[in-house]
């Protein structure tokens, strides 16, 4: 197996809640956004992180980028604990770990030309390079992301470009410092469906050519199944299942994953599959249920006549014969 490029060890992220209660001595409420998450991302892979809104997937992404400080735990990047590095080192690391956000209408500064958007990271991280080298790197980043003719595009502003082109600019900007690892947070959800394939294909091509590794954050399970090597499923800040993409979808073990997979809308009418529709919504991460956090919505728990253990003990991740697919359920 390939080496791990990124490893999270028991990461917890808590946010204090502004309760409007200014009296001292009252207990401060906290949101447990991420609650003890450990996983590795292997060099060259695409690991998809899926889950519903509020499950902590974006928070984990931002924690790896150190845009959010973890309350507890370590994040290792290429053999170094990056939760402890100092400011100057962190700057260096930032060039190796980059991000692509969801909304290319908001992630690009409308007042900068495409050239300036792409040149800015270079000016910050390698102020010593010459103007001509800067130009050639900007042009080649545009070319690598299929923004042609590159010289013409470089002079334009974001509002001149379509959504797909803007997302290409965002990708070019994230690649200009030649990172090893990319966190992509819903990179195609804002784009029209017919454009998505091109952007995803570009991401795959760049993995081949530049040896990139991706953490691919998405709420779309069928997309995760199609593009990723492995899938990680989160529920209320904890991993409920992780494994090979195909087996997580087609041989899902955790009752939550099984329910999610059963309701993926399919582009074919009149199929006869049994949908497991969970009632209610994900509970608030302020009051996480004791024992198994999925229990209050768990259909399997009801089917098994409400076993005691689910209320008493939080299930850990356990293997499924092979260590490559594990899930957190007592059953």
């Amino acid at each position: 197996m390939a080496e791990a490029i990124v490893e999270l060890r028991d990461i917890r992220v808590l946010f204090p809640v502004r309760s409007g209660n200014l009296l001292p001595g009252r207990p401060q409420k906290v949101v447990t956004a991420v609650d003890g998450v450990s996983f590795q991302v292997f060099s060259g892979e695409i690991l998809a992180m899926v889950g519903e809104s509020g499950c902590g997937k974006t928070t984990i992404g931002k924690t790896i980028l150190r845009l959010i400080e973890p309350t507890q735990g370590e994040i290792w990047f290429r053999g170094e604990d990056i939760t402890r590095v100092k400011k100057e080192q962190l700057r260096k690391l930032r060039s190796k770990i980059q991000v692509i956000y969801q909304d290319p209408y908001e992630s690009l500064d409308p007042r900068q030309s495409i050239f300036d958007i792409l040149a800015e990271p270079l000016m910050i991280f390698s102020p010593e390079i010459s103007r001509s080298e800067m130009e050639s790197r900007v042009i080649s980043a545009l070319e690598a992301t299929g923004l042609l003719p590159a010289r013409e595009i470089a002079e334009r502003y974001p509002h001149h470009l379509s959504g797909g082109q803007r997302q290409r600019v965002a990708i070019a900007a994230s690649l200009i410092l030649e990172p090893d690892f990319l966190v992509t947070d819903e990179p195609v959800s804002m784009l029209d469906v017919s454009i998505r394939a091109e952007i995803l294909k570009l991401m795959l091509d760049l993995r081949e050519k530049k040896g990139l590794t991706y953490l691919f954050i998405t709420h779309d399970l069928s997309l995760a199944w199609m593009i990723s090597d492995r899938i990680l499923v989160l529920y209320l800040g904890k991993i409920v299942e992780i494994g090979d993409a195909h087996s997580v979808i087609h041989d899902a073990k955790h009752p939550y994953t099984r329910a999610l997979v059963s309701v993926i809308p399919l582009p074919q009418p009149k199929h006869d599959r049994q949908q497991i529709i969970l009632e209610g919504e994900t509970p608030s991460p302020i009051d996480i249920p004791p024992g198994c956090r999925f229990k209050p919505r768990c259909w399997l728990w009801k089917e098994l006549n409400q076993p005691e253990i689910c209320s008493q003990l939080e299930p850990g991740l356990k293997g499924n014969g092979s260590s490559e697919h594990s899930y957190a359920c007592h059953f």
Binding site: E52, S53, S162, G164, D192, V193, S194, I195, R196, A197, E198, L200, K201, L204, H219, D220, L221, S222, L223, W225, M226, I227, H246, I249, H250, A259, L260, V261, V263, I264, P265, L266, P267, Q268, P269, K270, H271, Q275, I277, L278, E281
Partner: protein, 322 residues
């Protein structure tokens, strides 16, 4: 037929010029049916749907066409007659559950408002009873009747919007992207709710979505729009089982299906044409993988390839049908 839209053409006046948003759109909807309007942003699906209850913005002009609802042309009705059609015959679940509700009025009062407006004279106690019942229909506990929109989740707000659309027992409900931006599980809950309500209340529906999977899960018939035109229309089985128009085929291949081969989605390279100056000939010409010379010059007419299955593409020729 409950609804027949015939040869509808709509344009918008904007600073940049005249946008030819919808041209030559014809649709049919039988009572009890769910029609899906599919297509990407800017294809004219919302514009077409809003033209039915005459709710287009002021800068829009209907140039041509008929909207026959129960055999009456809605476009010929006076404004006050139209008010009697809206909500009591045709209602809408507007797009964007986050913005479609008034943040400073509780949900009970918002639902009650449409009853008071459209059915003056209904007693207060009856309004209260009906509001509570509507909330129950859509799966919200009636004791939340005094909740404000910000106290509800996205899924719950969508349920409130659905309840609002049902206040005056309409025959036709138009739902504009009712599950977009909702989580998968909530999406399934809402789609299920729509199916249940349709059976229980004997509704006809027009469901607008860019997501063909959502359309496939819920619709009996489907119309696919591209750049202001309907390019293909037919039963869901025909459209998903035997798509004809190259745009439909391409769009279908843009959605991964976890129960088929695990292959990469193909997408459609390029962008839709600018509707300020739509091209002559077929509007899909620039992006079409099967384009021919004729396509650039002559606009394809919509023809039947089989009973109930229409396509507007030069690759297909009319077959006799009975």
């Amino acid at each position: 037929m409950l609804l027949q839209v015939q040869d509808l053409a709509i344009q918008f006046t904007s600073k940049a010029g005249i946008v030819h948003a919808v041209e030559g759109v014809s649709l049919e909807l039988a009572a009890g049916e769910v029609l899906g309007l599919a297509g990407e942003s800017g294809c004219g699906k919302t514009t077409t749907a809003l033209a039915i209850p005459r709710l287009l913005p002021r800068n829009a002009t209907v140039l041509n066409g008929k909207v026959l609802f129960e055999e009456e042309d809605l476009l010929q009705k006076t404004d006050s007659d139209m008010e009697r059609v809206r909500w009591s015959k045709i209602s809408i679940v507007f797009q964007g559950s986050m913005n479609a509700l008034n943040p400073v009025i509780n949900i009970g009062d918002q639902i009650a408002e449409s009853i008071t407006y459209h059915e003056p004279g209904v007693s207060k106690s009856e309004i209260k009873e009906r509001t509570a019942q509507l909330l129950e229909y859509v799966g919200i506990s009636p004791n939340r009747i005094r909740s404000y929109p910000h106290e509800l989740s996205g899924g719950m707000r969508q349920r409130v919007l659905i309840a609002m659309s049902l206040t005056c027992n309409p025959k036709l409900v138009i739902a504009d992207e009712p599950v977009t931006a909702l989580d998968v599980m909530i999406q399934a809950q809402i789609l299920n709710l729509l199916k249940t309500l349709r059976d229980k209340l004997d509704l006809s529906m027009i469901l607008i979505s860019h997501d063909l999977s959502v359309i496939a899960e819920t619709c009996d018939r489907v119309a696919i729009m591209y750049a202001g035109k309907v390019v293909e229309q037919g039963s869901a089985e025909d459209l998903f089982g035997n798509p004809c128009h190259p745009y439909s085929t391409g769009l279908l291949k843009s959605f991964p299906n976890i129960y088929s081969q695990r292959e990469f989605i193909s997408g459609i390279p390029g962008y839709p044409p600018n509707l300020l100056d739509p091209p002559e000939g077929c509007r899909f010409y620039d992006r079409c993988p099967s384009r021919m010379e004729i396509c650039q010059q002559v606009e394809p007419k919509s023809i039947f390839t089989s009973k109930g299955h229409q396509v507007a593409c030069h690759l297909f020729q009319e077959k006799p049908h009975g």
